[in-house]
Subunit: 244 residues, 2 copies
């Protein structure tokens, strides 16, 4: 069951070694909605049970992965190819961050082009011959004293960037019933009257700023109707006006 | 050797289970320059050899990690606390993406505040009592049909966001010696003259657009001086004007 992935970038793993890493990469892709996985000569053959097991909820990405013998075959239909590589190469090619590369890829895809990201084997990374097939190099800007990120993490960052640049907002969470301003201020008024009766706002010249500070403290956070009920109950108990 | 981490957010792992995951989280932090790790009651005690082994180049993050018994102790010095949780909670608290939360955290830190990100145990995630210590909830916006990302990956995304929002540009790579426009056009002129001599630009009414297209094709990509030398050599060989 080969799917059409017209509007999503392909993830191409060149000679991946461990089935677990292929599965983890598939899951990282699918976490952020990517599902076009292509494998170039996976070391341990194909299918690979460990890949499927690690992929878990992303099993369909594994099931529909295209497996080919050479990197060139994996990219035949693509128009814009990005090679992920950490090592500086003696090659004249633009080097971009994942952020910039994904932004550019998005523009290409919106224009109907087909984009893919190439990732090398776990140990050695992409060879120069594979990088030569790519239009651009993508380098994750890591801490020089701790530069090693693994294959699935690298795929995760590209997939995350893709989603981040496509879903700027979270779906709106279920909203609580917030209290109206008037309901909040009725509580504040009540508290301030009780405090006033106990000569809290002293000395008199500081009273206005003390009152303002007090009201500010309670209006700083949005309060829900339930919060207000709780606070009214607590106040009444504290003031001895209500017996449990 | 406790370090001061004044200007970096703390990463707090609450009851982490596997040493490997603690080590992987430390490495993910340090990949992007974070080094203030705090552990709340790690299940298998502390120190943990597997954490150090997995951390690899981030061993110093493990070595300087603060280990405490309760989440509350882990956050005593912090002013702004973000809880990473995937599950919707019946709690009234702002829910932010990592992108927004890190952007806000950056502002707080620049203002001299201290920020931390709370992560729950691998299996169960943060408990409500821990989330109640946080000011905001952070949820990674994942694909609903494949929402599971592991502890170290979640830390990786927060650390990546931190670095992404702090290092907008890669260090400038060693630049090749690009050819000047004039050198490129000398080659184009030469090729066009040779083509003209062979009656390539035909019919005459199409000659201007054919010439423009031809020049465009060669100026689309930046060419280096070395590229030009190669092309001059190849052309001369093709034209029989130069013998190897």
């Amino acid at each position: 069951m080969i799917q059409e992935h017209k509007s999503l970038p392909a993830i191409i793993l060149v000679q991946p070694q461990l089935g677990e890493n292929i599965g983890a990469a598939a899951r990282a892709m699918y976490n952020f909605g990517l599902d076009d996985l292509r494998l170039v000569a996976p070391r341990d053959g194909w299918p690979n049970d460990r890949a499927g097991a690690t992929a878990a909820a992303a099993a369909q990405v594994i099931d529909t992965a295209r497996v080919v013998a050479t990197t060139r075959e994996a990219v035949t239909d693509l128009t814009h190819i990005y090679a992920l590589t950490a090592r500086p190469r003696d090659m004249v090619k633009d080097v971009q961050t994942p952020e910039i590369a994904v932004s550019e890829a998005k523009t290409h895809i919106q224009a109907g082009q087909k984009v893919g990201f190439l990732f090398g084997p776990e140990r050695s990374g992409l060879e120069n011959a594979d990088i030569a097939l790519a239009n651009k190099i993508v380098t994750v800007p890591v801490n020089a004293v701790c530069p090693s990120i693994n294959l699935a993490q690298c795929v995760l960052l590209v997939a995350y960037e893709w989603a981040r640049q496509h879903t700027p907002d979270l779906p709106v969470a279920k909203q609580p019933t917030y209290a109206t301003s008037e309901d909040v201020h009725k509580l504040v008024d009540f508290m301030m009257a009780e405090l006033e009766a106990r000569n809290f706002f002293h000395p008199p010249e500081k009273k206005p700023s003390m009152q303002a500070n007090f009201r500010n403290a309670l209006t700083r956070l949005p309060l829900t109707e339930k919060d207000l009920q709780t606070m009214w109950g607590a106040l009444r108990v504290l003031l001895g006006k209500f017996q449990r």
